[in-house]
Amino acid sequence: MMASVNLTAVDVKEGDELPPLSHAVTATTVVLGAMASRDWRPMHHDKEFAIHRNGVKDIFINTPNNAAWFERYITDWTGPKGRLGRMKFKMKRPVFPEDTMVFNGRVVRMSVDDSGCQWVELEVTVSVDGQVNTECQARVAIPCDPHDNPWQRKASRWQP
């Protein structure tokens, strides 16, 4: 298996849109994500608990799985040399089974730090039925050129 994408700085400019990603969520999606992240709390697998204790309509996607979805969306775009430096997200509304998540992203800033690392700042959203459920800001390093590899950066050469 080899990467089909290896984005470098010349391929990206501020204002670029990432290709959207759509995923139909089921109860299995939620439970798979919770179990993979070793999150055994019942609101992510027990519908009765979610309704009666959390006051929501169903089980919902948990925080670390939300992060994993964002990471997948971003590195689908960058390819394997894309290295996440920082990620921040705010969950405004839970994502439930029967929802279709739609990921959108935009390049808001590109910069090179004093060690020569190429950073891309992204705004990413997850929407359901046209409403934003989760907002994410991410900072990802991509290669400056085909010979660069952000994963080789250590210590002061890695400034997330």
Binding site: S37, N54, T63, A67, W69, R72, P80, P160
Partner: protein, 173 residues
Amino acid sequence: MAVDIPQNVQDLIGKPQYEEKTEFPIEVGYVFNTCAAVQNGNPLYWDAEVADQIVGGRIAPPTMLSVWFRPHYWSPGAEGERTALQTHFDLKRLLDLPEAIVSGNEAAFGEPVRMGDTLTTRQIVRSVSEFKQTKLGQGRFWTIDVETYNQHGEWVGTESYTCLGYRRQEVVA
């Protein structure tokens, strides 16, 4: 700092707590589970040859940082519910707020987490808000940092959780 925070909660702010090591060396099975759950086909995590070329060996996705510190649901000799992010549950108890949700998450990622690594973490309460009225009920927001280092003492990441602890609204008939 909000003025209505109990002293025993104020005393926790800024104090590192619950330093602990991962219960098992980092392993690829959980990496596959995580990638499968979100259909992440990044060859860095599925193809040992690609991982070797790019990072010098298999690593875990950076966003898995918290995964390694959640205890098994049960283990021999353990009593009661085993919970991760213990400071969060301490705050719920100390502030008498029975329900809670994670409302925000921020993470910064350092050295890659490699297969076989043993990680150490510690939790630090950064802030607790005054009482606020929210859609879910009356409660407080708090932020907890979780700092993580590998067996070489290298920083591998910090996650900050912003949580809302609350009491559910009483419905008046």
